[in-house]
């Protein structure tokens, strides 16, 4: 597609429920990132996918968070047993250049705003 697409744009859920957030990157972009942004805060790195290499999961805050990506296409971020502190905007970004290729210029999606009641 022309840009990075994220769904849903807004999600309200009850504490303890599981949620799935989806990201469709730009076709041909080998790298894909998930970031979390709490209200008024900066971007918190969660996970980084680059082609068939093992993902960098060093930013995932707990084992309730997981993400998958099939090849160089869609990625899903799953949050199990959601807590109120998970409320944030979850941003996905993709780039044409990844590991060892130099500059990574990211194209961001509009984000998925998650509210946990």
């Amino acid at each position: 597609g022309a840009g990075v697409s994220q769904s849903p744009s807004n999600k309200v859920t009850e504490k303890g429920k599981d949620v799935e957030l989806r990201c469709d990157p730009i076709s041909g972009h080998t790298a894909l990132y998930w970031y979390r942004q709490r209200l008024g805060q900066g971007l918190e790195f969660l996970i980084y996918f680059q082609g068939n290499s093992a993902p960098d999961k060093s930013g995932l805050p707990s084992d309730r968070f997981s993400a998958e990506r099939t090849g160089e296409s869609v990625s899903t971020l799953t949050i199990q047993r959601t807590q109120q502190e998970d409320s944030a905007v979850y941003l996905c970004a993709s780039s044409k250049l990844g590991r060892g290729a130099g500059a990574n210029v990211l194209t961001f999606g509009a984000g998925s705003r998650l509210t946990v009641l």
Binding site: L39, G42, L43, F45, G100, A101, G102, A103, G111
Partner: protein
Amino acid sequence: SQQGEEDPQALSIQEGENATMNCSYKTSINNLQWYRQNSGRGLVHLILIRSNEREKHSGRLRVTLDTSKKSSSLLITASRAADTASYFCATDATNFGNEKLTFGTGTRLTIIP
């Protein structure tokens, strides 16, 4: 933890004035980038400066990089109301095989018409 930190955290200026934001980082980098964010949603890439460059221009934007001080500045000249946004710097470390981008804490810029 954040690799970069911007200052000031917030800046308000009159339309037409110049706005300067600074970014400091901790480790050696390949490149430094600046992004803009409107309305708390997706970020938009503004400009990239490589570690062997000292200054770069793009329209009303001027970026400088001082690798000895591990700092960068973003200057927006002749500011407009539409420049109101949050601005973030982002760096990718020189660790081989780990070029993920890490973002700073951001500067919230308000242009007063």
